[in-house]
Every structure is written in structure tokens, then in C-alpha cells.
């Protein structure tokens, strides 16, 4: 609509009104030109064009704010998931529990992507798969040389459009992929591998269609760090726990382990209605060996005896160094005849032990042993050990180098 013959003052008022509306934020306001094609119309045209630019800029800014807000929300979501993963991993008591957490959490965090976590075997010559999700196809083990990330010690991204330097362990490429070494305490413990399916999107898979965006890659790096650290800490904890329960001289379990195990075994046996056995053994005249040949020779003999005890054990038997030259063997689900036979075998193997110290033979040792059965010879953990101990000293008194069975508990044992 154009206006032809309005007075000049009215037309200037219209320009002022338009400017006021725009200044108040009404950026959709526009002025109406006259047919005069004069300076006032030129100003009106200029203001209209400026208003168009401002409106467009505002729309563009609002869109960018929306995009950025969505990005922040996504980032916030990722951080929450990462925190959740970290909390769960910290709550894990064992590495197997951690694998379960990794399996569940990474499948959720990287839904729509295929992926796998590989960890080094103890031999460190291959990595084996510990967790996998999505439609990943590939072998369950890989050699470190098959992965560029492991070879270079840094993340390796492959664009599906230019799949140069694709890792050999990737047998079927469905899209972009990334390999991230999992490192903690300066050591690489494994590999996190992710791939999207933008080349071959499945039609029906729930959650399909996710892309390996920069944000996902950053999340994967953080996940890799958290997971590697948690696994390393659990390994360290296991190692320390093991060290705390092992006797450093012989490598056998120690007395602390016996105390932990036997309480659990009493409860388990009460529940199952079966028995467990205890062999309490002591090296005869060991003090003499120490005094005559020195403590080094004594330690050497103790290690050899421990090896002999260990070699006479069967799966499930738990040999321990109870103190000094005293050994204790815990045997689950056993009856008295078998227990007596195992103790006798133990005694005879120790009797066959021969060691040398500084080129000189150390005299062979004999073993006295007492055996007791729970609940036959004691109704508690301590009473069954006491019963075996009493049987041991009865064996000593009877001339040593022999096995003696505990006396059946008397009525005083019932409390």
C-alpha cells in the first residue's frame, strides 16, 4: 500500500513512529512508502531494510542460542553419564564387577554406535574382548600391531569416506571409527573402539543412526580414561589384598587369610550340612636347624617344605603358613578318612624334601600333624583349629613325624 498526498509532517511522524516501534523491540514493524519517491520515502526504505536486517539477525541469534543450548544440554547429559559411570566403577569390589558396569554403561552411553573394550592379557602379547555392544563384527582377540592407536599410543580416527590407515582389527567398516588406548598410571591396559553405521544404517535397530561426532569422540576419550583408571585401581587393590594375605617367604596364604576364610567356611558348611577339615602341621626340631645352620638355611628349608605342601594339594585345598614353622591346610567338603590320607601324604612329601645351603646339605625335616573336622571336632572356627592344634601336640608327644586325629568333642564343647 502506498500513500500519495499526505502532508510532509504526517509522513515524518510515520517515520518517527516506525523508529519508536523498532526501538521497543518490535522488529517486524515496517513503514509504508508514498508514491512521491522523495527523501522521506528513501528514509522509510532505509529504515525498512535496516529493520529486515535486525529481524533476520535476531532470528539467527535465537537459532544459535537454541543450538548452543541443545549442545550444552547434550554435554550436561554426557557429563552426568560419565559421573554415573565413575561412581559405579568406584563402587566395584572386583574387576569382574567392573566389566559388568562397563558392559552396561558403555552400551547406554554409546547407543546407536557399535563398540568394544579390549584389555591386555597378562602375557601382554594380545588383547581380548571384555565388552561389546551394537552390531560390531570382528574377532575377540587382537594383537597390538593390528591397531594404529595402540602402535602410536594415541587415539586414531578413521573417516569412512577416506578410510586410510584403517586398523586391521576392523573387519567390516560400517562408518567412521575411533580407537582410543586405555591408559592409567603411565601404562596402557586396553583399547576402546567405536564405530558408527552411516555407510550401512540398519533399518530397524533401536537407537541406530548415531554419529561419531566430535562430542562423542571427546566423551569416548573421557570414558577411556575413567575406565582405565578404575580398572588399574581395582587391579592394584587386588594385588595389595593378595599381598596382605600372602606370606612373603613361602608365598603361601597367611594367618589373616585363615581367619577370614574359616569364618565364612563355618557358615557355608552349616548351610550345606557338609564338613571341612583342618591339618595343623609343625616342622619337627626346626629350631635346631636354625641354630646349627643359620636362619638363611632355615628359610630355605621352609620354602622347600612350602613347595612340597603346595605340590601335595588338590584343587580347592588352601595351604597356609600359620606362623614360624607351623603350617595349616584348609580342605572343603571332606570326610575324616580322606583328611587323614591327605595329611599322611603331606607328611611323607615333606620327609622327602632335601635342600642344600652354601653347597652343604641341610638335614631333612619331618612333620608332625594334627587333623580335625568341622563340626565333628569343634563347633566353631576357633575350636576346630584348637582341636587340630591339640592333636598336633599329641603327635609331637607321641614321638613326632606322624599324623594324629583330634579327639571327638566332649559335651563341654556344646555351649
Amino acid at each position: 500500500m502506498t500513500i500519495g498526498n499526505e502532508p510532509r509532517g504526517d509522513r515524518i511522524d510515520q517515520v518517527v513512529i516506525l523508529l519508536s516501534r523498532l526501538a521497543s523491540g518490535e522488529l517486524s514493524a515496517r513503514g509504508v512508502a508514498s508514491t512521491n519517491d522523495d527523501d522521506i520515502d528513501a528514509v522509510m526504505a532505509g529504515v525498512n531494510m535496516l529493520a529486515e536486517e535486525l529481524e533476520s539477525s535476531r532470528a539467527e541469534l535465537e537459532e544459535r542460542v537454541r543450538d548452543r543450548t541443545a549442545e550444552f544440554e547434550k554435554l550436561n547429559h554426557d557429563i552426568r553419564q560419565l559421573t554415573e559411570l565413575s561412581n559405579l566403577l568406584q563402587a566395584c569390589e572386583t574387576i569382574d564387577e567392573a566389566y559388568l558396569v562397563i558392559d552396561h554403561s558403555l552400551g547406554v552411553m554409546f547407543a546407536g554406535l557399535s563398540g568394544a573394550v579390549f584389555l591386555y592379557r597378562a602375557s601382554r602379547n594380545v588383547l581380548e574382548i571384555k565388552s561389546t555392544w551394537g552390531s560390531r563384527a570382528g574377532s575377540a582377540v587382537l594383537a597390538p600391531t593390528e591397531c594404529w592407536a595402540l602402535r602410536r599410543g594415541q587415539r586414531h580416527f578413521v573417516d569412512a569416506d577416506e578410510p586410510m590407515l584403517s586398523c586391521r582389527h576392523v573387519q567390516q567398516r560400517t562408518g567412521d571409527s575411533i580407537c582410543i588406548p586405555m591408559s592409567a598410571h603411565g601404562e596402557t591396559s586396553g583399547l576402546l573402539h567405536l564405530m558408527d553405521d552411516r555407510l550401512h544404517p540398519p533399518e530397524t535397530q533401536v537407537g541406530a543412526g548415531a554419529r561419531l561426532t566430535q562430542a562423542k569422540q571427546s566423551l569416548a576419550v573421557a570414558v577411556s580414561e575413567q575406565t582405565a583408571l578404575a580398572l588399574a585401581n581395582l587391579e592394584l587393590r587386588d594385588k595389595l589384598r593378595l599381598q596382605a594375605l600372602r606370606d612373603p617367604l613361602t608365598g603361601l596364604l597367611n594367618r589373616r587369610f585363615v581367619e577370614e576364610w574359616i569364618e565364612r567356611e563355618v557358615a557355608r558348611t552349616d548351610h550345606s550340612g557338609r564338613s571341612f577339615g583342618v591339618i595343623m602341621a609343625d616342622v619337627d626340631h626346626f629350631k635346631l636347624i636354625n641354630d646349627v645352620h643359620g636362619h638363611d638355611a632355615g628359610d630355605k628349608l621352609l620354602r622347600a617344605i612350602a613347595d612340597a605342601i603346595r605340590s601335595s594339594m588338590r584343587a580347592g585345598d588352601l595351604p597356609c603358613r600359620y606362623g614360624g614353622e607351623e603350617f595349616l591346610v584348609l580342605l572343603s567338603d571332606i570326610e575324616l578318612p580322606a583328611l587323614a590320607a591327605r595329611a599322611e601324604e603331606l607328611r611323607s612329601r615333606v620327609a622327602a624334601v632335601r635342600v642344600e645351603h652354601r653347597g652343604e646339605p641341610v638335614p631333612g625335616a619331618t612333620l608332625s600333624a594334627g587333623i580335625a573336622l568341622y563340626p565333628k571336632h569343634g563347633l566353631s572356627a576357633s575350636s576346630v583349629i584348637d582341636a587340630a592344634d591339640a592333636a598336633l601336640y599329641a603327635a609331637k608327644r607321641a614321638g613326632r613325624d606322624r599324623v594324629n586325629t583330634a579327639a571327638v568333642r566332649s559335651s563341654e564343647n556344646f555351649e
Binding site: 519517491d37 520515502d41 526504505a45 533476520s56
Partner: protein, 127 residues
């Protein structure tokens, strides 16, 4: 005048000026240039088939050009060596000034009130 491409429905006409070696676009009196008109005029110039030639746009009687049209003139991938904007009225001067000032053109653009001066300048920008 050389070959001519005129779309009768459109508020402009486009032709090739053989003597000057430029494409010419002349907007009709009171013409309003929206996105559709901008696209049609650019396409008509390209259809002349002279590639990246100088272009003279006579917008002396144009009354309005909206933002989408301005964006199209700025971002259209069509080739052009240089553009002379021929203006006359206060409104056409404002439109031309706004386009030159606000838009980032990929080619030389200049505003003229004198046609022969515009042709001389365009002649200097022949590729």
C-alpha cells in the same frame, strides 16, 4: 542492442548490449524485487550465455527490494565480472547504498547516476 531475454511477466527485462559488452537489467517503474524476482533476473542474465561479463542494473525506478532478494544477489553462485548500479530517485539511491554498504559482494559493485560513466567503469572490469 544485441540478443534480448525478456520475461513479460517479470518486473524487469534483461538483454545483452553487444556494443558495450555488458548484460543489462532494467527494472520497471515501481518494481518490487522479492526473492523470486531476484532469482529470475540472475537466471535471465546467466541465460544470455556470456559468462563472467560486466552487468549494468538499471534500478532507477525500483521501489523496493526485500532482504531475501538482497541475500540472493550477494550469495548467488552466478558469475559476473562487476556490477554497476544505475540509480536516480532518492529511494533507488538508498537501496543501492544499502546493498553496497550492508552486503559483502564477491565482485566489484559501484553506484552511478550517469549511464555512460557506469559503462566506462564496467569496461575497465571486463575479464
Amino acid at each position: 542492442m544485441g540478443d534480448m531475454s525478456v520475461a513479460s511477466e517479470e518486473p524487469f527485462r534483461v538483454w545483452w548490449d553487444e556494443a558495450a559488452g555488458v548484460s543489462r537489467t532494467q527494472w520497471a517503474p515501481g518494481a518490487v524485487c522479492g526473492l523470486a524476482e531476484a532469482q529470475a533476473s540472475v537466471a535471465a542474465v546467466e541465460a544470455l550465455g556470456h559468462g563472467a561479463a560486466p552487468a549494468l542494473i538499471d534500478m532507477r525506478q525500483m521501489s523496493r527490494i526485500d532482504r531475501a532478494a538482497r541475500e540472493h544477489f550477494t550469495n548467488s553462485p552466478g558469475e559476473v565480472a562487476a556490477v554497476g548500479l544505475l540509480v536516480g530517485s532518492a529511494v533507488s539511491k538508498m537501496i543501492a547504498n544499502f546493498m553496497i554498504g550492508m552486503q559483502r559482494m564477491r565482485f566489484p559493485v559501484r553506484m552511478f547516476t550517469d549511464e555512460s560513466a557506469a559503462l566506462d567503469w564496467l569496461d575497465d572490469h571486463r575479464q
